[in-house]
């Protein structure tokens, strides 16, 4: 959505047409390596990407992929398409189909491919297009040879290479080759996780090649790191390159930043005098840069909206501030650049910042600059000794709070004198805090009614604050179908919210009733005292876990419930206090009667962020399971005799 490099990233998936004319055994699917079939829906039998940088302004890429599809699920791995745009020309594309014995049974040429717009839902306009083949197989297994060839004059981004390209997909043989002119440029290379695989590298002047063999398929598992973080991968960038009319020569982030600043950003922050006058008036009498920046951020939030339009330099250059000022909309680049211009107009410095955004944390390589990293722009504002961060595409986030979209990751901050790798603020463990206080009454018939107050900070704030702007229907849905999904007879009598953007704290106050809450068994009433804050996400069990796992952020919850018990029942026997502490977190639960005869339930749960080996998985799951079980602890009330 907020993808400023979408048209460039495309190069990754794309390549071109030398036919694989070697031994024919890869076309048949009667006999295949049993280890590669395990957990597989498809096998890449042979794959080669060949990048030919004739010069930094003339690059051709050819890819051929022979893939055997074992069943219908494996059809998704065929990927018989090439993305292109105004800067990429598809010279050739074709697909051949082979039956089980390796006999060619069908052939599709360029004219058989459909040519359609590849604009995603959130984008208003982009020149991104895709050529794809709509193929329906006749039987399984079958084998396909898909090949294409594309040309571009942009050499800033070379395709990266993962020797495995998806879950449940194995690779028999894979090659990645780059030819370049050593007099013109050199290559910078980033290798990740190649150890432990049959992957070889070959390098000589003007030539780089990797080849991999027999990589087994990986099965998807709960809480595992992102696929791109578990597979072997090679990224390559030319030191000197050409990009949409601009030449670059970059060997570190500092130079990269300098290039971005002078070539792509400079001269785009001009504003009309009227706007300068408006914002100057807004900050009149304010001296502190923090306060000034906050006022400007609010002005941007109230006066612009996010619209993705991918035009201009391959989706890399922001629309000039003066144009955003006119139409009052823009994408992440345009809005960030506009905000930067407004800040400059009131004397506050700020830096345009490349980031890889997404709920799953993805950091820039500290030592490996490239245009391929990053899919979003935020602003960094230096203030005293710290850095403030804002996302200009949001109309609702508080100032200096970026939420889980861009938190805790290395980003490239572009300063006039060069780029710098910095880390955005992290929200971890206790920072993501939710306090729930409830005061409720259990009626004789087992229904309950009461009031609840919740206070959220950090990512818990990020997860909750948006209900404030939602309509009544949505608010009801949020609580009934999502937040307290487990309660069937829930009735929301009233609600109110308080969003404190300065403290970054969200408060919810609700009055609720729950019919049939307690369970009647004969003359007994079975009650779960923890009505309003239950931990329910037990990760799936695996017969044998293969992948490591992670908790990216962690959180802490504290609860205090005051419960009035029904009158016609005897005092219950209360369960003993529970206290669990281990490396994954802590859990404490107590239930006591107070002097007024009310049941007081206190609970706290801390789940720490962390990265763990697969051997810890069962223990972690066990911890989650125990917490979930204690969260539904029951007490039994007996009817006093009926006399």
């Amino acid at each position: 959505m907020k993808n400023f490099t979408s048209s460039v990233m495309i190069l990754f998936i794309a390549m071109s047409s030398v036919l694989y004319g070697q031994e024919k055994s890869v076309y048949q699917s009667l006999s295949m390596n049993a280890e590669l079939i395990k957990n597989s829906n498809a096998l890449v039998r042979y794959e080669k990407m060949e990048v030919d940088m004739k010069s930094i302004r003339d690059m051709e890429m050819k890819q051929v992929r022979v893939i055997t599809v074992l069943n219908e699920e494996g059809l998704d791995d065929l990927k018989p398409y090439v993305h292109y745009n105004n800067g990429i020309k598809v010279k050739d594309i074709q697909m051949l189909i082979f039956d089980r014995t390796g006999e060619e049974v069908n052939k599709f040429k360029k004219k058989d491919f459909k040519d359609v717009s590849a604009v995603s839902g959130g984008t208003l306009y982009s020149d991104s297009r895709v050529l794809y083949l709509d193929y329906t197989p006749v039987s399984y297994p079958f084998t396909v040879e898909f090949s294409y060839e594309i040309a571009t004059d942009n050499s800033a981004i070379l395709p990266s290479w993962s020797f495995l390209s998806g879950y449940n997909l194995s690779t028999e043989e894979s090659h990645y080759i780059v030819h370049y002119d050593p007099n013109e440029t050199s290559l910078r290379i980033k290798e990740s996780r190649l150890e432990g695989y049959d992957i070889h590298k070959e390098e000589s002047e003007g030539y780089l090649a990797y080849s991999g063999k027999n990589l087994e398929a990986i099965k998807k598992e709960d809480l595992a790191p992102a696929f791109s973080k578990i597979v072997p991968r090679v990224e390559v960038v030319p030191k000197r390159f050409f990009y949409e009319g601009y030449e670059g020569d970059v060997s570190d982030w500092n130079e990269f930043g300098k290039w971005m600043y002078t070539r792509i950003l400079s001269g785009r922050q001009e504003l009309p005098p009227a706007t300068i006058a408006t914002v100057t008036a807004l900050v009149k009498g304010v001296d502190d840069d923090y306060e000034k920046a906050k006022i400007i951020y609010k002005y941007v939030q109230e006066n612009t909206r996010y619209i993705s339009v991918q035009v201009g330099i391959g989706g890399m250059q922001p629309i000039a501030a003066i144009d955003v000022d006119k139409v009052k909309y823009g994408d992440c680049k345009g809005l960030s650049n506009y905000t930067m211009a407004l800040l400059r107009a009131v004397g506050v410095e700020s830096y345009y910042t490349h980031v890889e955004a997404g709920q799953s944390i993805d950091s820039f390589h500290a030592e490996f600059p490239s245009l391929a990293q990053g899919n979003h722009i935020i602003l960094a504002i230096p203030y005293k000794d710290e850095m403030l961060w804002v996302d200009c595409t949001s109309q609702s986030l508080p100032f200096n709070f970026v939420g889980d979209f861009t938190d805790n990751r290395r980003v490239c901050v572009i300063k006039p004198d060069g780029g710098e790798i910095m880390t955005t603020p992290s929200y971890l463990d206790e920072n993501n805090y939710k306090l729930t206080k409830a005061n409720y009454v259990i009626q004789d018939d087992g229904s309950i009614s009461g009031e609840i107050d919740m206070t959220s900070n950090g990512i818990a704030y990020d997860n909750a604050y948006y209900v404030e702007d939602s309509d009544d229907e949505y608010v009801n849905r949020y609580y009934k179908e999502y937040y307290w999904k487990y309660m069937n007879g829930l009735q929301i009598d009233s609600y109110s919210f308080k969003n404190d953007k300065d403290k970054i704290e969200f408060k919810e106050h609700l009055k609720v009733e729950v019919r049939n809450y307690a369970n009647k068994s004969g003359e007994q009433l079975l009650i779960m005292p923890n009505a309003f804050d239950r931990y329910r996400s037990i990760p799936d069990r695996y017969r044998s876990r293969k992948l490591p796992f992670q908790v990216e952020r962690g959180f802490k919850e504290e609860d205090e419930f005051i419960i009035t018990l029904p009158e016609k029942y005897t005092m219950p026997t209360l369960p003993g206090a529970v206290s669990i502490a281990n490396k994954f977190g802590e859990y404490h639960l107590t239930m006591e009667m107070n002097e007024d005869g009310k049941l007081i339930m206190k609970r706290s749960l801390l789940i720490r962020h962390g990265e763990y080996e697969k051997d810890d998985y069962d223990d972690f799951r066990d911890f989650c399971k125990k917490v979930a079980q204690y969260d539904v602890s029951k007490i039994v009330l007996k009817q006093t005799d009926k006399t």
């Binding site: 219908e72 099965k219 139409v327 009544d472 179908e481 069990r541 369960p575």
Partner: protein, 647 residues
């Protein structure tokens, strides 16, 4: 002077709101910009203050063109309404020429220091792209959008596709204060209006002398005030089935003395015209391409039932569906047969003609898929799918060979949509109910033993039939055993499954049977020294799918279902029953469904028998409260514990 029509649907007390408003382009009032929320729907993120469309014909240089003029004024109350500042127009560019947008004017109105400020749309806010061959998308987004602003735009579409009139939609996701629409066609073109939706809308019809033919134009006008918004809900088959709209279908062109062509206006015409399409009727007649392969197969028997089975299996096996719908062939049956790949029409028309070739009375049945909505009137455009129907003495058997796991009368869910239309060669046709007549059944037998430490061990046998079996096969045929077992274990709250056996996965005529043993460390709860047992263990339903207070649209259960669980619980040594939940029976009105729950103790065992039925596919919204309460009671009953104490 326009007259007020549609007296049958005016909101009380709201009719006069729009009187006195000036809807001329550019005449946006201060009140409109200053309005903070919609007077009738305070939650609305945006509203159409005025929505006008008129479509009419022109004739110039021997060419007929359809002109559509649009003018809209939109109020944006808050950020969620910003999407309404962007308008998208879909255009055609094909053999007859291209649709052209002209006269685009668009302005945003905001209040600045008590004065109205206008910001005009400029060229940089207009985007045009080719989505795919023949399909163009033109989008424009207005500048200077803020909460509270009003936007207004108008444009004209000139189209050579005069025989295709885009649908008029009268009800949208946000309220409309004032709507004016008109459709005008020369008398020589006979269009039939097809109405849809909960809110009744009818036009005022007028005759006006025509500029382009010797005669008159028929003008149909719609004027509506305060149309409420309509949003989607969960379990709705397709919200567009309930929104009010009209679609004009061309039935006939008659230019006196020179030209006559009839399309469709009753079912016989529809049938005739569909048979007349070369991609349908001609394709259905072809037999030569399959005779050599089919003859030896059907020679084995002359029994019609057996022949039906042979042909159905042959087509399912040979043909692979390319996921294109439609009742017309695309590449033709011959090519499809040769390559083993075809669209819906190619596969099912091929099967129909094979049936006929083998002496079976088979006919195409036109269907509208769930996503396509419901065809309520005789129309050829309302359908988008075709299956094969065979009339036997026992009734009609429906066949769809696009899915490998389909069976006679077990059709893919996409076609289980109200009624289809069987069209016969002689031009007659008959409505066919697509609702599955038979309930799909799930039968579970479970033996479970509780040990004194609270662990449970047992065996389970589960059998599913009809649609449940179809779903199971479609979902799990390609999933490997271990992955399936992990899914099963996780679905059933972490039981550990062993000795798993699956029968008749590939034997489509039979129900699917799973048998396995299971173990769970903590299968019951200990409280105050007593054991609390959920009589259905991990099969307990604990969540009511219906949570909201009210419902406006019918609920789609897709097909009728019957569940039967029989559970035999072996009590732990040294314990006896303190409380045995009471048996119960519940039922829904009008035989829509029922639930029975019977518990019996016998020695050291407890037997639990549960049946639950939903006897229809679509449940009207008027039963929502009853249904919600029914589910509540079912869940409450299942949650009652069997309590054991030390003997």
């Amino acid at each position: 002077m326009k007259k007020l029509i549609v007296s049958c649907f005016l909101l009380v007390g709201a009719a006069s709101v729009s009187m006195g408003q000036n809807y001329k382009f550019g005449k946006v009032s201060e009140e409109e910009i200053e309005e903070k929320q919609h007077p009738l729907e305070p939650d609305a993120a945006a509203a159409y203050l005025f929505k006008e469309r008129s479509s009419y014909f022109t004739y110039y240089n021997g060419e007929i063109k359809l002109i559509t003029e649009i003018q809209e004024r939109v109020k944006i109350y808050n950020k969620d309404g910003f999407d309404y500042a962007t308008e998208t127009v879909y255009l055609r560019d094909g053999s007859e020429g291209a649709d052209v947008v002209s006269g685009l004017k668009a302005v945003t109105y905001t209040m600045v220091d008590g004065k109205i400020e206008e910001t005009k749309l400029e060229k940089d806010g207009i985007f045009k792209e080719e989505i795919s061959k023949g399909r163009i998308k033109e989008t424009f987004t207005l500048p200077n959008i803020k909460e509270g602003c009003v936007v207004e735009y108008k444009y004209r579409i000139t189209s050579p596709y005069y025989f295709y009139i885009p649908e008029y939609r009268f009800q949208l996701g946000v309220p409309i204060k004032r709507l004016e629409s008109s459709f005008s066609a020369p008398e020589y073109f006979k269009f039939k209006p097809l109405f849809k939706g909960y809110m009744p809308v009818r036009p005022e019809v007028d005759k006006v002398s025509s500029q382009i033919v010797d005669g008159y134009n028929l003008v149909e006008k719609y004027e509506l005030d305060n149309v409420p918004s309509m949003k989607g809900e969960a379990f709705v088959d397709n919200i567009d089935n309930y929104r009010s709209s009209v679609y004009y279908e061309l039935n006939q062109i008659e230019i006196p003395g020179s030209y006559y062509k009839s399309y469709s206006h009753n079912w016989n015409d529809v049938t005739k015209s569909i048979y007349g399409y070369s991609s349908f009727g001609d394709e259905l007649k072809k037999t030569g391409y399959f005779e050599d392969e089919l003859n030896p197969l059907i020679a084995a028997t002359s029994n019609p039932q057996e022949r039906i089975a042979i042909i159905f299996n042959f087509v399912k096996q040979k043909m692979n569906w390319n996921e294109y719908v439609g009742y017309g062939c695309s590449d033709g049956v011959r090519k499809a047969f040769k390559e083993g790949v075809g669209n819906v029409a190619e596969i099912n028309l091929m099967m129909t003609s094979m049936m006929r070739f083998a002496g079976i009375t088979a006919n195409p049945v036109l269907v509208s898929t769930k996503s396509n909505g419901i065809p309520l009137y005789p129309t050829s455009d309302g359908f988008n799918y075709v299956i094969c129907g065979i009339e036997l003495n026992e009734g009609i058997v429906l066949l769809d060979a696009t899915e490998k796991f389909a069976l006679p009368n077990i059709l893919p869910h996409r076609v289980l949509n109200w009624n289809g239309r069987m069209i016969r060669e002689n031009g007659s046709s008959v409505e066919v109910d697509m609702t599955p007549a038979m309930s799909s059944k799930e039968v579970m037998n479970m033996q479970v033993k509780i040990d004194p430490q609270g662990a449970i061990d047992g065996k389970l046998r589960r059998q599913v039939t009809d649609h449940l079996a179809y779903e199971f096969r479609s979902n799990y045929f390609n999933v490997d055993n271990e992955e399936y077992l992990e899914k099963l274990e996780n679905r059933y709250l972490g039981i550990e499954v062993d000795e798993y056996q699956l029968d008749d996965m590939e034997n489509l005529g039979k129900p699917i049977t799973e048998t396995y043993s299971f173990h769970k460390d903590t299968g019951v709860e200990f409280i105050d020294g007593k054991i609390y047992v959920s009589p259905l263990f991990f099969l307990t339903d604990s969540e009511n799918p219906l949570k909201l207070d009210k419902r406006e649209f019918p609920l789609d259960f897709v097909y009728p279902k019957q569940d039967r669980f029989m559970i035999n619980i072996g009590l732990p040594e040294g314990y006896k029953i303190e409380t045995l939940p009471e048996s119960a029976a519940l039922s829904l009105p009008d035989n829509l469904g029922k639930f029975t729950y019977v518990l019996k103790s016998a020695g050291n065992n407890v037997q639990v028998m549960v049946t639950s039925e939903i006897n229809t596919d679509i449940v009207p919204a008027l039963y929502y409260d009853a249904l919600k309460e029914y589910f509540n009671q079912v869940i409450k009953k299942q949650s009652e514990k069997l309590v054991l104490i030390k003997a």
